[in-house]
């Protein structure tokens, strides 16, 4: 793995965060006089963990590491970190305790973890460094007891420079333009960029960069949302400037998560701004005057921020269910429409009116015989019957099969005594065949019509 092979070995190999090295060195060299813990926060791949590892190596510290994959409840923290934190160095070995992804200490699984961590920070005998993606998702009490260092998103050219070094060293045959594209796509995430380069092999052609690196920017939207709900200022709108979502999509994100952050009047006031924002979006669309998007954006971000505030540290943000439900219910909608079109065709009416037949049909379905007869008329298939009545559809199907058997039996009885007269038999056959082919062509016609209606949408 290139990521591991080219992991920085000293401070000079760390790209893009040079200015912060001084701050961190100053903190550790004067450790004990100031805050006992350091919180490094910044987007993924900006070099937080790398910085700590290089620091420990360069200054000759032992690194005691605990990351999100370890269990971090109260007892675990006390056992591992607590011991390390309270025991002084005996033989001159100095220790740094690294708690990676500290914003993930929360909820049931890490029960008591946040509280225990606070105690450990207060009483530690060794430097503790926490890393997090979001400042806001580390509890306030912990933040107050830490020296804060913010890592900015790496610039594309910084990532590019590193990619180029690696490409040269590895003898990868690649155009610089492609490297630049990979760097840009990574959104300042060095780890992601190197992994992308790694996955493209030794000979990389123009355009190959499109095969990799379409990572979603969910982390950054969560970050922005978190700021939106925990602050009370119109300035929060700036947090959304760099988020790569169209305003109508962003509105659905905010709409989805607002009820999780706010309650009562705050929620109502926010929904007011959300609905007004939606109106501006439509005004922009209708008049083709997209400069009006800015009002929509201001209202959905600044408006919602000012409308309420939450002190909840952990809000379970999620992407809009709207698209999810829209996707997962697509099949149901298609079936629903096919049913309505079948009713509409037979009853000379629109889908809207056809819907008014459904309660009556559902009642007839309670009686399998009646249900089978009416289903036959509308030519519903099994899936459609099931869609209307999930409980009784088997009985109705069974009854339909019974209905089919009756005429067959009659014919058999008729046919048996006249087998001697082949003319009569063949006549029966011909009539049968005619009927069948008629049915076939009818079916075909229906299928055509059905395809047409589906196609129209």
């Amino acid at each position: 793995m290139l990521v591991e092979k080219y992991f920085p070995k000293n401070f000079s190999e760390i790209k893009g965060q040079q200015a912060l090295v001084k701050d961190i060195l100053a903190w550790i060299n004067t450790w004990g006089s100031e805050k006992k813990a350091l919180l490094i926060y910044g987007p993924p791949g900006s070099g937080k963990t790398t910085m700590v590892k290089v620091l420990a190596k360069e200054l000759g510290y032992d690194l005691i590491e605990l990351n999100a994959s370890d269990k971090r409840d109260q007892t675990a923290l006390n056992r591992i970190v607590g011991n390390a934190a309270s025991s002084k160095t005996l033989f001159g070995y100095k220790k740094i305790i690294l708690l990676d992804e500290a914003d993930n200490i929360h909820g049931k699984e890490d029960f008591g973890g946040a509280k225990a961590l606070l105690e450990i920070i207060k009483n530690t005998q060794n430097p503790i460094i926490l890393t997090a993606n979001s400042y806001w998702e580390v509890s306030q009490a912990i933040r107050e007891n830490c020296k804060l260092v913010q890592f900015k998103r790496l610039q594309s050219r910084t990532v590019f420079a590193r990619l180029k070094e690696i490409a040269v060293a590895e003898g990868i045959n690649v155009d610089e333009k492609v490297l630049l594209k990979i760097a840009e796509q990574s959104g300042g995430d060095m780890r992601a960029a190197i992994n992308d380069l790694d996955s493209l092999g030794k000979n990389i052609a123009m355009g190959d960069e499109k095969l990799v690196g379409s990572r979603d920017t969910e982390a950054s939207i969560f970050e922005a949302l978190s700021k939106l709900y925990t602050s009370n200022t119109i300035d929060v709108r700036k947090e959304f400037f760099n988020i790569d979502k169209k305003p109508d999509e962003l509105l659905l994100w905010i709409d989805e998560n607002t009820p999780k952050a706010y309650k009562g009047k705050d929620l109502l006031n926010s929904m007011n701004f959300i609905s007004k924002s939606d109106i501006y979006l439509k005004r922009a669309l209708n008049t083709r005057n997209y400069s009006m998007w800015k009002y929509a954006s201001d209202l959905m971000t600044g408006g919602v921020s000012v409308a309420g505030i939450t002190d909840s540290r952990y809000i379970p943000f999620s992407p809009p269910k709207y698209f999810q439900v829209l996707g997962s219910s697509k099949k149901a909608r298609v079936t629903n429409n096919v049913i309505l079109d079948k009713i509409g065709k037979k009853c000379h009416c629109s889908r809207k009116i056809a819907r008014s037949y459904l309660p009556m049909i559902a009642i007839l379905f309670l009686n399998p015989r009646k249900g089978a007869l009416i289903a036959n008329f509308f030519e519903f298939d099994m899936e459609e019957i099931k869609f209307i009545d999930e409980k009784n559809y088997r009985k109705i199907e069974h009854e339909r099969e019974e209905l089919l058997k009756i005429p067959e039996k009659k014919e058999k009885i008729k046919v048996v005594p006249v087998t001697i007269d082949k003319k009569v038999e063949s006549k029966v056959e011909i009539i049968k065949k005619e009927k069948e082919s008629q049915k076939e062509s009818e079916k075909e016609e229906q299928q055509k019509n059905r395809q047409k209606t589906l196609f129209d949408f």
Binding site: I274, Y322, C349, I363, N376
Partner: protein, 315 residues
């Protein structure tokens, strides 16, 4: 294959004379049969009052055995976009009428067309006027642009009287050998609100449950036929549980495919049955009206209805 028709189809009048409660309209239409010619027609009125039935019966009587070849039914609200409508109409209009002077195109729910689409339709009507007559049906004639109205003879279909509904229902009950009680008949006429389709569906649904049709059975069935979900959604919101009501909304819009317009219409209807003060009802009507207006302007159905629910649950 053995089947049973819905009774609205089984008993749909095949001749103009069989249509009940529409005497003046039937008289005017019959004059076209005698003359074997007709202008474009516009049928205006609410659902279930005989617009489609009159159009089909007229076509059958004018064209006799060739009625199917000379009559085309198109639904403007389902066939999205005027292009689909126009293509379909053109294809049909291009071929010559069989055994007659003209063909009839029946365009149901014409008021679902935008005014642009109606203008295009108007041109189509002019181009094919030598071979085609249009019967346009709509709920509100005011939604049809003036140039089209002025080219059509207008027929207004009001809601059917209780008497007309009862005549038809009694006839069906007799044919189907149903034990229809007098109070059951009254109840059907009452719940139908002048809509024959509703009345016949209520009769057929009731007969699916009970052997004799009584008042209580009819009410039981027609309350089942009412979409309870929208009422429930409002109740949940009013109880303060915004999140759950929002989930119901999502299912109505996305899974069941109801339109925002449908939901607004039923919410308005249900408002008067809610157990809240009259003052609160007025407030709710005001909010529904605002949401309706926003939807007409093209706003997002989910977001606007969601705001409406937030208002119900918190306001």
């Amino acid at each position: 294959m053995e089947f049973e028709k819905p009774w609205t189809e089984k008993y749909r009048p095949q001749k103009l004379d069989d249509i009940v409660g529409r005497d003046p309209i039937v008289r005017r239409l019959k004059s076209y049969i005698d003359k074997k010619s007709m202008p474009h027609l516009l049928f205006a009125g609410p659902p279930g009052v005989g617009k489609t039935t009159a159009a089909i019966a007229l076509a059958k009587e004018i064209f006799g055995e060739y009625w199917k070849q000379n009559f085309q039914e198109t639904n403007a609200s389902d066939e999205r976009g005027i292009n689909v409508v126009r293509e379909k109409i053109k294809d049909f209009a291009r071929t010559k009428p069989i055994g007659g002077e003209f063909k009839i195109i029946f365009l149901d729910e014409s008021d679902a067309l935008t005014s642009d689409a109606q203008n295009a339709l108007r041109r189509t009507m002019e181009v094919y006027t030598s071979t085609c007559r249009f019967i346009l049906s709509c709920n509100y004639s005011s939604r049809i642009i003036d140039p089209i109205q002025s080219r059509c003879a207008i027929f207004r279909f009001g809601p059917l009287t209780n008497d007309a509904i009862k005549i038809m229902i009694k006839k069906i009950a007799h044919e189907e050998k149903i034990d229809l009680k007098e109070d059951g008949l009254e109840a059907i006429a009452y719940v139908s609100e002048g809509d024959m389709r509703k009345a016949i569906n209520a009769l057929q649904a009731s007969s699916g449950i009970g052997d004799s049709i009584t008042e209580s059975l009819v009410y039981q069935v027609s309350s089942r036929a009412k979409p309870e979900e929208i009422k429930n959604m409002m109740k949940i919101a009013l109880s303060g549980d915004f999140i759950s009501s929002r989930r119901v909304l999502q299912s109505l819009l996305l899974e069941q495919g109801l339109s925002g317009e449908d939901i607004i219409m039923q919410m308005h209807r249900e408002t008067f049955n809610l157990e809240v003060s009259d003052k609160e009802k007025v407030r709710i009507v005001d909010m529904i009206g605002e949401a309706d207006f926003r939807l007409v302007q093209g706003a997002n159905e989910f977001i606007q209805l969601e705001y409406l629910l937030a208002n119900l649950s918190i306001g």
